[in-house]
């Protein structure tokens, strides 16, 4: 695939299970593409240089910063955003755990926290709260709701490991 500075290129990918094909400028960030082209505004854009974690999504199952990836680079990829989880009336287990533990206040960081937690729960033992804190340390919450986010993830670790 090639594209000139002024021209758009066709990119196709799977987003939350649906096949999408769109014309994009090479410079469009995946985060902006998801929000502006597909209307998936659950992926939040905070710092736009990889520091805050709010735009974290899953690309082929791995958490990535959607502000540090171009939409063209997602050619052929399987993308999952926060919209792939539950809905307001039917939360998935991780979202329910966040709700139960009051792990969000304003909610801006929440989509990134959720997508980060999914990857960490798959890849990390998260045996201690310190490990959970380290796993979430790339995601900034300015309401300082960290304590309850750690509790919400702890509950999911227990559920994963079958000791609740």
């Amino acid at each position: 695939m090639t594209g000139t500075a002024s021209g758009k290129v066709v990119v196709s990918m799977t987003v939350n299970g649906d096949r999408v094909e769109e014309l994009v400028e090479p410079r469009w960030l995946l985060a902006d593409f998801l929000r502006e082209n597909l209307g998936l505004t659950g992926t939040h854009v905070g710092c736009e240089h990889g520091v805050c974690g709010a735009c974290t999504i899953l690309m082929n199952g791995n958490s990535v910063r959607a502000c540090l990836t171009f939409a063209v680079q997602a050619q052929g990829a399987d993308i999952e955003t926060v919209e792939s989880l539950g809905t307001v009336n039917d939360l998935d287990d991780l979202q329910e755990s966040f709700r139960k533990h009051h792990a969000l206040q304003c909610g801006f960081c929440t989509p990134g926290m959720l997508m980060t937690a999914i990857d960490a729960l798959r890849k990390r033992p998260l045996a201690t709260d310190q490990e959970i804190r380290d796993a979430l340390s790339g995601n900034i919450c300015r309401c300082t709701g960290y304590q309850n986010i750690v509790k919400a993830v702890r509950t999911m670790v227990q559920k994963r490991d079958g000791d609740d």
Partner: protein, 313 residues
Amino acid sequence: MPGHKPWLPALATDDKSSRLYMKPPAFGYEAPTSIEQATALLSMHDGDARIIAGGQSLVPMLNFRLLVPSVLVDINRIAGLDEIRDDGKGGLTIGALVRHFQLEASELVAARFPILTEAVRHIAHLAIRNRGTIGGSLSHADPAAELPMMVQLLNGALTIAGPDGTRTVAARDFFDGALTTVLDDAEIVTEIALPALPAGAGWGFKEVARRAGDFAMAAAAVTLTQKDTLIEEARVAVMGVHDQAIRVPGAEAMLQGAVADNGTITAAIAAVREAVDPDDDLHATAEFRRHLIGVLVGRAIHDAWHRAAVAHT
């Protein structure tokens, strides 16, 4: 990679509003499927093209408009660069597109170079490690990044492809100051060879950062072998305290052939503090960094000594 970068130029601003640009400028995009195509594209654009691999350092620089390339050459579609292979001699050959998480999770890496596994655990956050590549980290050459230090410590050699063929450069000759390497505009790092460590080598890795995943204030990596009661071969590398990650031959000389006692370690620490030239920045003063690196080197030597298997004459 995100973080405070005192050596970068001032941020570009929008003349009309003084607002920071946070979107990349327009660029062309090429996704070659072979190294030959990639080097040809780089050659054609004559210094105006940039390679993108993981993009975890490049994209922030594009978003800030610190870089305005005419073309990005995306090397992610080149097959065969994402493998960690046994070199058959106790070492490993690591493809340039191997992601940090791949290194972290590799049993082969853990078995051959446990110090590398430990070092990779300090690179940024999981989401960054899922994308960032070893070739990208080395080519970016951040003075506070782990992999440029580790490949020097491990006597690595880089295979570099260019329009006229490939060449091999020792890791210790590859870096040329902050964010600078000996790579020409049309060259790409394709592979990193790490030769086996000496039998029985012990290791120590120590890093201090404000939070997990932040850029290091300083870090030290040491390997050494033990013969009878003496240190035999010693390697000392440091980062975050100089314009690039470096080996410290002066400290290695203090250790080699010496008894691993407090006097020897103190002499090695003094040699490290003498060799480095840290900067002041938001996170720490130069004086603090110089002190800190000595402490970290001392602790890394201690760990390496205790992990080394004792060989007898």
